[in-house]
């Protein structure tokens, strides 16, 4: 089984979706750790950087010379507009609760609109999203219709870079089977929900494939009018395009020169990047992330203790003084004592009844059990006497017999 860090050969496809003879080794970027948390964080920070400030007029609500009337006038103490002769006079002013007053905490232009992100974090996020774009499961889960494309990552010959007609671009996308993704964009065109409609953000649509090129020889012009398709140079990759929405797994179409440039731009683990100063790919925390294989691996199994298939559960403690079985568990002789006690009581009861019966002369009506018990005792006595008589009498036994009872 090839290791997770093996680098397979990716075939380059012509613009007609035929295999050209060339193939490229998968750039090591695609093996970088995929960290959706980092990508999400960096994306959210980055997306704040395109914001335009908004604020309320700094004079708003203060262009009056209102003053409070003070107490004693049977009105609220809010500052009121001076003068007379108009509706406005005597109205409350300045407060956020007043009509025509300034708002609470008026928004300022010097709000911190932009965010800086550490360079290494930015690069980490970028590298993660490139890696994720090479995983079919992740790209499909993002919703891109990539069932019929020849290979992922999709690398196409450099001829694409010299397209300058949209027609050529469309034919290319059709041949490569990326057109279904574009069709999905068409079908997803709708009006935005909410007030954005009246704020020049009326229409919304899905994102389609991203085309990353090495050199623009007209490519941008060809692809720019196709809805959903974005175009990007390898040298200027942007997280906002690689992980739109902060989610990894965009469908990317690479041109051959772009693909080959990746190793130089991001480096491999053994050699640092030649384009970026002092940069090397992030090292993953786990080299082998296949959990199911790890759990079945001999090296791990050997060190584990045997599985505890029957965990001992805590049992409720029962009071032996109240619960017979708990008592018996601790002291089995308790059964004997109890039985003895019960039988003694029964015997005493019976004796009393017999005594009374004798006294009153009324013959006692014995229960069946009592009768049988008496019979049993009789039988036993006879049996014992019999066995005693049957035994040969030795000197020892003769001595013991009188001592016993």
């Amino acid at each position: 089984m090839a290791s997770a860090l093996a680098r397979p050969l990716i075939t380059v496809y012509s613009e007609k979706n035929e295999k050209t003879g060339t193939s490229v080794h998968l750039p090591v970027v695609f093996k970088a750790p995929i960290r959706p948390d980092v990508v999400s964080f960096v994306h959210h920070q980055m997306s704040k950087n395109r914001r335009q400030p908004y604020a309320v007029n700094k004079d708003a609500g203060h262009q009056t010379s209102a003053e409070s009337w003070g107490t004693g006038r049977a009105v609220a103490r809010i500052p009121r507009v001076r003068g007379g002769g108009t509706h406005r006079s005597g109205q409350g002013a300045f407060g956020n609760m007043c009509r025509g007053g300034r708002m609470f905490a008026p928004t300022k232009t010097w709000r911190r609109w932009h965010r800086r992100i550490n360079v290494n974090q930015r690069r980490f996020a970028l590298v993660s999203s490139i890696a994720a774009s090479g995983v079919p499961a992740l790209v499909m889960s993002k919703g891109h219709m990539v069932h019929d494309i020849p290979e992922l990552p999709l690398v196409v010959s450099d001829k694409v870079q010299s397209f300058n007609k949209t027609k050529q671009a469309v034919i290319f996308l059709r041949r490569i089977k990326a057109w279904t993704d574009v069709q999905k964009v068409y079908r997803s065109r709708r009006l935005r929900a909410g007030k954005g409609k009246m704020r020049n953000r009326r229409r919304v649509q899905r994102r389609g494939p991203l085309i990353i090129y090495g050199e623009d020889q007209g490519l941008k012009l060809a692809f720019r009018n196709i809805p959903g398709v974005d175009v990007c140079s390898v040298k200027k990759l942007s997280l906002l395009k690689l992980a739109p929405g902060g989610h990894v797994g965009r469908f990317i179409i690479w041109t051959e020169s772009a693909f080959r440039a990746l190793d130089a731009i991001y480096g491999t683990w053994s050699s640092p990047s030649s384009e970026k100063k002092d940069y090397n790919l992030p090292t993953p925390k786990m080299t082998n992330t296949d959990l199911s294989r790890l759990l079945k691996a001999e090296e791990i199994r050997k060190v584990l203790r045997t599985p505890n298939k029957r965990p001992v559960r805590a049992v409720r403690k029962l009071n032996p003084l109240r619960n017979v079985r708990a008592m018996l568990k601790l002291n089995p002789y308790a059964a004997v004592l109890k039985r003895k006690a019960i039988l003694t009581i029964q015997k005493k009861h019976l004796d009393k009844q017999e005594f009374l019966a004798k006294k009153t002369g009324v013959p006692l009506q014995k229960t069946k059990q009592q009768v049988r018990y008496e019979q049993l005792i009789q039988k036993r006595k006879e049996a014992i006497q019999k066995s005693k008589a049957a035994k040969p009498k030795t000197a020892k036994k003769a001595k013991k017999a009188p001592a016993a009872k």
């Binding site: 397979p8 079919p136 499961a137 889960s141 992330t289």
Partner: protein, 140 residues
């Protein structure tokens, strides 16, 4: 090529993907991806992350079902990834064939029951619906 192992992908995707469907008052979310046998969003049933996946769909002609499964080699060549066979024979035979396929090939044996269930459900839906008897109207 092991590629990205299933557990990693699942950790990335589980709460956040295009096929996730959450409904009110239902704790476990559904999933609409094509090769999911139970339509539930779960690691085991997900149709995208695993190396081997099973899909059971109704056959296009309207009779029988189609079994879709992933080839184990060349997982990144997407157009050549899936194999399909249609099972058109009667229900007993098709289900038998389905079960044989899964068990004898050892292809995701943990999904046998789910696959059989789904196939039976498909076949049942293709049977003509029994006409309802017209109940005589009760006179008051």
């Amino acid at each position: 090529m092991a590629g990205i192992p299933a557990h990693l992908s699942w950790a990335i995707i589980r709460n956040n993907n295009a096929f996730l469907v959450k409904k009110r008052n239902i704790k476990k979310p559904f999933s609409t991806e094509p090769s999911n046998l139970s339509n539930l969003a779960s690691f085991r049933f997900n149709g995208l992350i695993h190396k081997k996946t099973l899909g059971v769909e109704p056959a296009k002609e309207g009779k029988g079902f189609q079994l879709v499964w992933k080839k184990t080699r060349n997982q990144h060549k997407l157009s050549k990834l899936t194999n399909k066979t249609t099972m058109k024979a009667g229900p007993r035979r098709s289900l038998y064939k389905l079960r044989r396929f899964i068990v004898k090939n050892g292809y995701r044996k943990d999904l046998t029951k789910a696959a059989l269930r789904r196939a039976s459900a498909v076949l049942k839906s293709q049977r003509p619906v029994p006409a309802k008897k017209n109940r005589p109207k009760k006179t008051e």
